[in-house]
Amino acid sequence: MDTTAAKVKIKMLIVEDEVPLATAMKDQFEREGYQVVTAGNGEDGLEMATSDHPDVIILDILMPKSSGLDMLHRLREQDEYGKNVKVVILTNLDTSDAILKDVVETLPTFYLIKADTTMQGLSDKVKEALATQVNATTV
């Protein structure tokens, strides 16, 4: 990581199995100056989060192999980083769908419904999530 410059890029992990959605978000956030990596399921997502330590994770719930909530459970239990990383859940499942308990337990920073969220809105929420992180104000 380029630690000398003031423009430290914020690292973002997008975990989303729908390629068009992942691509749209990647384009948007890269344009805004983030360093973006993507994963197509919970398992790959957990691996990338563990190795790359992104500053923020945008996480879908319904995915093949391992769901977003499974991944987040494991990440939260894993280590200090996993416990504190900012996570924005972005899904089309609303919290009435018997997942509320899991959502509460895994402590995401935000829970957003895809169909109700604009790119701009998502961008604002990500910034809001990151706001407490003093080192990452240079975007």
């Binding site: 199995d17 729908e18 068009p20 959605l21 691509t23 749209a24 978000m25 384009d27 948007q28 344009r31 319904l62 995915m63 093949p64 192999k65 089309n92 499942l93 609303d94 769908d97 018997a98 895809k114 169909a115 969220t117 604009t118 790119m119 701009q120």
Partner: protein
Amino acid sequence: VIIKWLRKLSVAKKLAIIISLIFLILLLGLANFWLSMRIMSGIRAYVGGEGLWSKSQKEAVTNLIRYSVTFDEVDYQAYREFLQVPLGDKQARLELEKKEYNYELTRQGIIQGGNSPDDVDDMIFLYRRFRRVSYMDIAIRDWAQGDALIEKLMDKGEKIHAIISTTGDEDDPMAQDVRLDELSELVMEVYALDKELTTLENHFSATLSEGSRWIRDVLFVVTIILSILLGSFTLFISLYISQMIVEVDKKKNEFIYLVSHQLKTPLTSSSWYSELLLQDHKIDKEKRRSYLLEISNTNKRMVDLVNTLLNVSRIEMGTFVVNPVMSSLTSLIDEVIASFAVQKMKRNIEIQKQYQEGLPSIAIDPQTIRIVVSNLLSNAIKYSYDGGKVTVSLSKKGSFVQIKVQDEGIGIPKSEQGRLFEKFFRASNAKTLDTDGSGLGLYIVESVVKNVGGTLSYTSAEGKGTSFIVSFPLEGLKKKRKKE
């Protein structure tokens, strides 16, 4: 086989079957109860009747013998009076032996036999229904033999009466001696008859008692079996219903998944890409094109999904309209194949056509054929390996025309083949390969094909490929009008 057959039925039909089975078992239980009661009551009445019969017969003999000593007409009348009981029973028996019996005569006989009028029906029932059952048969033979002996007794009685009422020479001791000798001879014969009758009477009762014990055992076993049946059936129903509730819940969740993931996702996608296009900064031409293409694709996906859901709803509500018109299957299938050009190219799939020459035009509904073939073809392409081959063949087999769609793709795991046509079902290997799928395609194909009088079959081997065969009768598809 039964479970497979049950699986295919609609929930309403399953419930109707279950309810009728419960009803049937309850009816059987009631019938069993009613039958047991009637049989037992009938046997009790016969054993009671036999008691009266024997008592009267004994009284008759006693009075006849007393008459032979007292020469008192009163005794003779008493003897005749007592005989009325066995004679009444005989009248009933003779009537019941007839093919068509007279109810009134029978009833009269039974009541004359000293039986309660309330027992008449049960006694007739037992006699007529169980005439050929061994115990009843033996008892009735005893009864008939008893009647024959009663006749003999009456013959002796008449002779005794004749001797006593003959006014002989009172003062002729010789003549008197002859009379007394004759009388004592007859009395001895009456004693012998009485002894024979006693043996028969005992046998009759013993036979009926044995029969009633046998029936008790049979009815006991039947009752136990019915109870076990009813019990296990109730258990089965409870398990089935709870399973059904779980299943319905699962289906509901699958539907929520379907709608949320498959309808909201393309909606989100087209909205986001539009937003990207509308942003102020410059986007290069290539990116712009890819964004627009994405919007167009997601729109198509939504239209397809809405059509699929509409078809499911039409099938389930019985409003799926089929309007057969004479058309060429080959050109219709060519048209469907042509519509898959993009998917085919993306995966580098080769589609081979094998159409039999000179197929006749048949009455088909183009929309139905399109739904069937495009669903099968879409699956064949989706679940082929890249660069694979899909064969679409069309041929005449007997009085059917056959459409076969064959691929060399991932196949269907054997353990999951039984559930292939279930709504929302997707094979595990299909889910891993492609998360985008409603699990409705084959459900629709099967329902539609059945609906128009066709058949659907398949063969599949995991990792080697699948082929689906749809057959339609040459005389054309069944017309289905919209229900009013």
